[in-house]
Symmetry: C2
Subunit: 216 residues, 2 copies
């Protein structure tokens, strides 16, 4: 189980403000622009404070990831009675949110940063990003999928596998393409709709399939 779960105000307000400036700097200029001097200048703090608070540069990067993850909160919609139509809508909303998160400036910048550091020996940034950043959205999706199954609308043996399929259908290679800097990938709405249709065709029970168009 996760030992690192305690995340109530991991940093002081002042430190959060500094991390915010650091993120802004990273988004604007990439990793090359994220120098300790630059962060100190942008945040009006001293380098000495940076090293006192975060240890070293890697500590600063980890803190940035933790801080950004702490800002993301996904609200669980519970207790609602699911129908075929509402399940479809909820999954579409999830798909759109997922693509929107992945396409966000800060998300892309942090993923690029972690990927760039990932062949460095034991950088832990990638692990941190996956654990902190993905946990929320994974939980939300799994809850939705489980609810669909309990409502007799979805049918699968392995929920993880079903979620993996949904993720692949929704994201495909869009994430990597965005990470590589390919422009003009903002038509996410249609992509999400198509993906959800395919997902429901694969995992929906007759109750769901009956309400879907016969052919794509």
């Amino acid at each position: 189980m996760s030992v690192d779960t305690a995340e109530p105000s991991e940093f002081s307000p002042r430190q959060n403000a500094v991390l915010e400036q650091a993120l802004q700097l990273l988004v604007d200029g990439g990793e090359k622009a994220l120098t300790t001097s630059g962060v100190a200048r942008a945040a009006n703090c001293s380098k000495e404070s940076l090293y006192k608070w975060f240890g070293d540069r890697d500590g600063l990067l980890s803190a940035m990831i933790a801080y950004q993850a702490s800002k993301v909160r996904t609200f669980e919609r519970n207790g609602e009675r699911l129908t075929a139509a509402s399940l479809h809508d909820h999954v579409v909303i999830f798909a759109r949110d997922l693509l929107e998160v992945l396409a966000g400036d800060v998300s892309l910048a942090l993923n690029r940063l972690a990927i760039g550091q990932s062949n460095r020996d034991g950088s832990k940034l990638g692990k941190l990003l996956l654990e902190r950043g993905r946990r929320q959205i994974d939980r939300r999706a799994m809850a939705l999928i489980d609810a669909g199954k309990r409502a007799g609308l979805l049918r699968f043996a392995d929920a993880d596998e079903a979620y993996h399929t949904l993720y692949g259908l929704v994201v495909s290679d869009l994430h990597v393409r965005m990470l590589l800097g390919e422009p003009g990938l903002k038509d996410t709405a249609r992509q999400a709709e198509k993906a959800v249709t395919a997902f429901l065709r694969l995992y929906g029970t007759d109750k769901v399939l009956a309400e879907m168009p016969v052919l794509g």
Copy 2:
């Protein structure tokens, strides 16, 4: 003197050997290890030659991508009469090959490199990687999908969309996870099989569906 489109023996054998050493260096130590001095030392050449051949560091990186792409050759299997079983097998082989390529040391290292440089202004590396590295595998997949349609085994309106779906089903988030350095993602065979089953369930005609197990 060649503009960057003509790719018959883009570099001399000596230059190819240097690029090979540079790739090895990148795979072993990441971008940080890929210094001009390091490449010169590993390849037993002079820095002056590096700058004469490739212009500057970015030119060297671009040349590495072009060189690696020139090594990948996908042989097209043509003229074969497709059946439901052989289509399934061919798609499975494609899926496995795709995952194997994406999981390759050099592929991961180059993708990490290009992604790390992609928020730098106009780095072109990402574009280059997508155009050079993906074109071959895209063509192979599209040919296979088209052949399946012509044989009355697949049914779709938009071949690009069908391919995108296949790609997403096969790769899901595996590529990004590998790029982030997550270990133990080598169980590609089962993943490929499941993905192809889902793909054929979505796009297969009755001829194909008749030969598939009733439920997953």
